[in-house]
Symmetry: C2
Subunit: 355 residues, 2 copies
């Protein structure tokens, strides 16, 4: 299908940040993609314009009732100068699932991908080439109707902005220290935990701040009902290797269906590594550690790809995993996945989209 996306080129070009010292999400490219929605017209007026501020009435619903969704994916520059996107179809499918949950009208995934392709093409000079860097892409929808009252908005904007990024953790792929949160919860079944919506992240700030204060880089969330079963780590899904088997929480209605998670499950299956998607309690994990069967743990997400867990602290009891080192499987998964993403390794799964 051919979409007509109006393009207004920026007359100036911003100075690009030093690719060796990129700070996550701080600098944005020269252009952005926008699409409007009204009840009468549906989604309309797809366009690429110079990156610029958004002007909204102070009564716009996004400021009051948090009706938003977003996505996060990356574009990579290969050593031959090609540009690869990693599974963008999955991101726009999930965006639409989030839209449905948040009572936002679904958008045309093909159009969104087409808009993204054009945008990346126009701003391709912004894809950094230094090892470990990429162009982080942030599609998002905000409710713009300028009237108060708790109800779905009648107007929305969908935008895509892009930011050249280094590694998410300044420390690189070194193992991180994780705090197991026993009191605060992020979400619960029946809530909006499966949607990538602002409120879930706002709900995580306080616990994250307190964990940082104690010297931990992220929070591991337990379920909101029993405060017992493992859910996610910060903005990542989480995996454990116990006695040779890889275990990860099942998609239980309160965690995000991560695209890195899904890719890792497919990789592990192709390697014939035994995998279980199931409920895991924090007690079971501590028990496994005591028995010496808890071999590795890692978080997975677009930002960090694989983030090995070196320490876990639950109720004042800190345990060290794999001697605080990156595990063998974590490293292999990281190398394979980033290899495919960067076009260094073959892509037997057809995950990457060439521009």
């Amino acid at each position: 299908m051919a979409y007509s996306i109006e393009i207004t080129q920026s007359t100036t070009r911003k100075q690009k940040p030093d690719p060796n010292h990129l700070i996550f999400g701080k600098h944005f490219t020269d252009h952005m993609f926008i699409l409007d929605y009204s009840v009468e017209q549906g989604w309309y007026n797809p366009r690429i314009i110079p990156y610029q501020p958004i002007t909204l009435d102070p009564a716009a619903r996004v400021f009051h009732y948090g009706q938003t969704v977003f996505e996060g994916l990356k574009a990579y520059r290969t050593s031959e100068g090609r540009t690869l996107l990693f599974r963008p179809d999955q991101n726009f499918k999930r965006l639409n699932r989030s839209n449905v949950r948040m009572s936002i009208p679904e958008l045309d995934e093909e159009l969104a991908i087409e808009g993204l392709r054009k945008l990346v093409e126009i701003d391709q000079d912004w894809i950094p080439e230094v090892e470990g860097t990429s162009l982080y892409i942030r599609p998002f929808v905000i409710a713009t109707q300028a009237s108060l009252g708790v109800a779905p908005s009648h107007t929305y904007q969908f935008l895509i902005i892009m930011s050249p990024v280094g590694a998410y953790y300044a420390e690189g792929i070194h193992p991180v220290k994780i705090y197991v949160e026993s009191d605060y919860v992020r979400t619960v079944k029946g809530g909006v935990g499966t949607a990538k919506t602002g409120g879930n992240y706002a709900a995580s700030l306080k616990a994250q701040e307190e964990a940082s204060g104690k010297g931990y880089s992220q929070v591991l969330w337990l379920d909101g009902v029993h405060h017992k079963y493992i859910e996610e780590v910060g903005s990542m899904n989480v995996f454990f290797k116990v006695n040779g088997t890889v275990i990860t929480p099942e998609l239980n209605g309160s965690i995000l269906d991560g695209i890195t998670r899904k890719s890792i499950l497919e990789l592990l299956a192709s390697w014939n590594v035994p995998v279980e998607e199931r409920t895991i309690s924090i007690e079971e994990l501590y028990e496994a550690h005591k028995n010496g069967t808890l071999e590795e743990a890692f978080g997975t997400g677009t930002a960090a790809v694989i983030s090995p867990i070196g320490q876990l602290c639950w109720k004042d009891e800190e345990i060290t995993l794999n001697g605080g080192e990156t595990g063998e499987l974590s490293a292999k998964l990281y190398d394979t996945l980033t290899g495919i993403q960067r076009g260094v390794l073959p892509d037997p799964f057809g995950w990457t989209m060439k521009l």
Copy 2:
């Protein structure tokens, strides 16, 4: 304390809407109050300026991570032409409690009240005088830092906007039909339910839409752990009169500490009506209805003040309360509270603030 609030008067005045046909939250007055926050300066530059759009970078955190809080209160015009605010100190106290929960820096409540007083004074012609109308006041805070990454923002704006409103429900104080939600949940203990933050409202939209589709005007939320205990109704706290005793859910860590709720508890105590703040299951309520002891039910909140409940529907079983009519106690509470708010009745509690 004297605050220096810079005032820029609007050079034009908007046409005011017909006070007999006010739509909730649609029209806004000529001015608004703003206060900025930065890590270096704290809250600074309080000012009143013409009502105007907000301009934000598309990376502003409010669009992505939902870090917002808000309040809602009302100004009333008395028959002698005085202006009364209802318990504004309580609203700004609660705003600060919400701020703490959402990792937003607390603001000076005195300054906020002073800004509000000045703003209402400047736009006092906007307070409608028709019976049942008022000026709805919406203070809110948004996270404005233009960078991605899940962490508290380094910059914020606090704003106050105001809108002349009629009754919240077009139907007036007629009883409403309420759908008891068994699957979706709004929040859970350990989450942010006690804070007035956007994400809680975004999380309510889907259930609200589905209930509307079935002919119900609001959702009654059950707790997120057992899906059994009564929490709130839409944007209201909820009360039941069972066998002469008034029962309302206790402040259990997941519901909002409503100012109307608090005022009603004080009124009932002064009338020597027996009151219980405690856990109530939906089964208990249906049981009471079967026994003929469930006498009245009503929601309480700033927007509607008292909203009698005529029907409840739980798992396909609809029950009618008090013959679908407004109960005696509901009516008395409504008349007393609105009487105090409008300066028609004496205010023995010192709830109203004269401007």
